[in-house]
Amino acid sequence: MNSANSPLGKPLDRVDGPLKVTGKACYAAEAEVPGLLYGAVVSSSIARGRIKGIDAAAAEALPGVRLVLTHQNRPPVASYDEPYEDDDAADGSPFRPLYNDRVLYSGQPLALVVAETQALARHAASLVRIEYEVEAHQTDLQAAREQAHDAPAELPEPRGDFDSACAAAAKRVDCEYGTPVEHHNPMEPHASIVQYQPGGELLIHDKTQGVQNCQRYLEQVFDMQGKIRVLSPFVGGAFGSGLRPQYQLPLAVMAALKLKASVRVELTRQQMFTFGYRPRTFQQLKLAADGEGRLRAIEHKAIGQTSRFEDFTEHEVEWSGMLYACDNVRLGYRLAPLDVYTPLDMRAPGATIGVYALECAMDELAHEVGIDPLELRLRNYTDINGNEGKRYSSKELRACYQQGAERFGWSRRPAQPRSLRDGHQLVGMGMATGVWEAMQMPASARACLDADGRLLVTSATADIGTGTYTAMTQIAADAMGLSMAEVEFRLGDSSLPQAPLEGGSATVSSVGSAVQRACAGLRQKLLDAVQQSPASPFTGANLETVEFVDGQLRLKSGEHAVPLRDIVQVSGALEAEASVKPDEKRDAWATGTHSAVFVEVRVDEDLGTIKVSRVVSAIAAGRIVNPKTAGNQIVGGVVWGIGQALHEETLIDHRLGRYMNHNLAEYHIPVNADIPEIDVIFVEEHDEIVNDLGSKGVGEIGIVGVAAAVANAIYNATGKRVRDLPITLDKVL
């Protein structure tokens, strides 16, 4: 519809805002359930071996302790891999909690103590004694590099002839970059409440990015088809941590089945470090260019860590074959299995680290060639994704460079490193390009106009803070010509129409398209309803000759109008459901979002402390449904990028195979004082291929490139290249 009154594209307040600021939004661990019991997880203290014995006598002897659940007394679970393979499973054999006596990683859940209060469960858990048969472990990727194997990923075939093109080139860069383990650490710990129903069915409140993913997983693992419903209306952050069912969920189900009672299992902050994470990697970048900086050859080879039971792969090196024009490209990706848990998709998985390495190498090449880093990007600009040999459906990256550079004042950047000072502060400026995919997944939605004229739209998607509630309400209000207040969008319930995992920046594209289509079906039903009467002024009209605006259905000629409320008062509630798959017209095109990030840093010359003092992020992501919530997403991504560049690293003591800083005091994420002004620009980008909305999603693109821009700014400030993240003061001094 998109009339002047349409909410689409307007910077509206979040529809769930009032609930969140008053404490009324109900998260997974907060459902009120009568007779609730509380679980506490006992985690392994060794990285590899077997359980020889579990002594739970002291815990079981405490009044109020109801169960100590272990691999020896758990309810039956599936014994093949397939039932455990969720929608985001890696290749291999998924982890099975409390399955047998094997210890596969430090922190693995080995028992669950269930008691009448949380404090009692936690105390009793501390009394459980586990005797181990300890085996030698390896948790250090550096030491296991030689044991790496090719990742089971479909990499683009090498193109051209890298070796001869590289040898013949005038300028070369050959660098290795290291990135550490990082943990998602959403503010809300993972938690599940399993509500045991009188008939044995389970109503589950879970923290997840996919209620139907969790429902399917549990139905398969516990052989409970049709007996499980999963709710997740509010998610206190996830960033990928909720893409797979996490272990507190099956543990809570086991306890509920065993006790025929309702059980809550909430992980501690320390236990938030005992499942998926961004893997540690080493990446080798070889760039070769002619004397003017035109890329002649690119090689990007990565080694990442994985677990011994699954091969976790992400799109890490592909970006180097698509971001710039280059005829000779060779990509490689290997995995080294360690005695750790399987890594997990984490905000812009793969791109966050792969583009970091590429964009730092590009900065090094610019210095090698002796041209401005932005000019180097422009000389290698392309509208074609070289991996696929396809033109982008839209790519306004040039506008990002131009508008971002202007807003930032890039022209004032000193070409010579360590040449700009402000007292004791060395000032530097850096930039980088960002890129992410513009995916669309099959999704469904239902739109129902009730007899009072209120529109209820539903889909089993999630809002992890991304603004799904608000964006979908805007899309539906636009499609039906209703006001925001007349529309409600409901999500986070596995019984609602099918939706994909909420991830990959694909929700607006996927679920938004389904909402649009369901509303189109509803418009037809409303028109059919008014045409029931033989004397209807709408006789002969069709969807092309009518419009839905201001709560009315009216002829475009303006002769007749009828409020939607009047139609449903006669017809009764009307409903339409739609399922949408990506359109085939997408196949001929490459699709993606792009960004240009500009960063200023200040490095204390004496102390090495680094402060990001300014950021401009220019984004090309198609049509922006809500600039307020989308801008917030980009800001959040930039904050994550600053954390990646300067703060975040989960450290393992390899002698113990155990994390050392598994808490929020020692795992540093940015705080308010670390974050400067962040200026977000959405450049105009029209796209009629990507989906009917022309919208690409913004959850990931904000982080991509930021760490490289920070690293490049630090080089510009200090003249020092630090090639392993995070860039802490000891590395700069």
Partner: protein
């Protein structure tokens, strides 16, 4: 404060003025203020993010001062006055900080938000942050993993004059 024995073990009776209402409560001596609020009283607006005083999600106002409710035992506060996010405003209207947080989109997932708002209310009462950098510094005990910091700053900056005006008038 008095001590009692019950099936749940030893409990103590404390008196709290909770969100303006005087309450007599039975608490176990090891129960934190946070667990009292969330698990015993169903006031789940106060959040548990780390249980170690490292994230600020559990910030509440105790006798008008902001504290991490996970780091203190309920029995230590007999006779105290406690304000949580549920009691910050009247039922019908939002507190100026709550309204400013909505207006400036000062959150995404919303989990740290009650703690941020209570912390900002405490900050306003402290009357010591006047510049943007000072607000940033004095709000750095409240983590926001979504990274909504610039909007949190804008919301607080927007609401502070109103809040200080109210206090000046009192």
């Amino acid at each position: 404060m008095s001590e009692n024995s019950s099936a749940a073990g030893q409990t103590c009776t404390i008196s709290l003025e909770l969100n303006g209402e005087r309450r007599e409560l039975q608490v176990q001596p090891w129960t934190t203020l946070l667990d009292l609020l969330r698990d015993q009283l169903g006031l789940t607006g106060t959040k548990k993010g780390c249980d170690h005083g490292q994230c600020g999600a559990c910030t509440v106002l105790l006798d008008g001062r902001r504290i991490n409710s996970c780091l203190t035992l309920a029995v230590m506060h007999d006779g105290a006055s406690l304000t949580t996010i549920e009691g910050l405003a009247s039922e019908a209207t939002l507190h100026p900080l709550q309204a400013a947080f909505v207006k400036h989109d000062a959150f995404q997932c919303g989990y740290c938000t009650p703690g941020q708002i209570c912390s900002a209310a405490g900050l306003a009462a402290e009357n010591r942050a006047s510049s943007r950098d000072e607000i940033r510094e004095h709000m750095s005990g409240n983590l926001c993993r979504c990274g909504a910091y610039p909007n949190i700053l804008a919301a607080i900056e927007d609401a502070l004059p109103t809040l200080r005006g109210q206090e000046g008038a009192q």
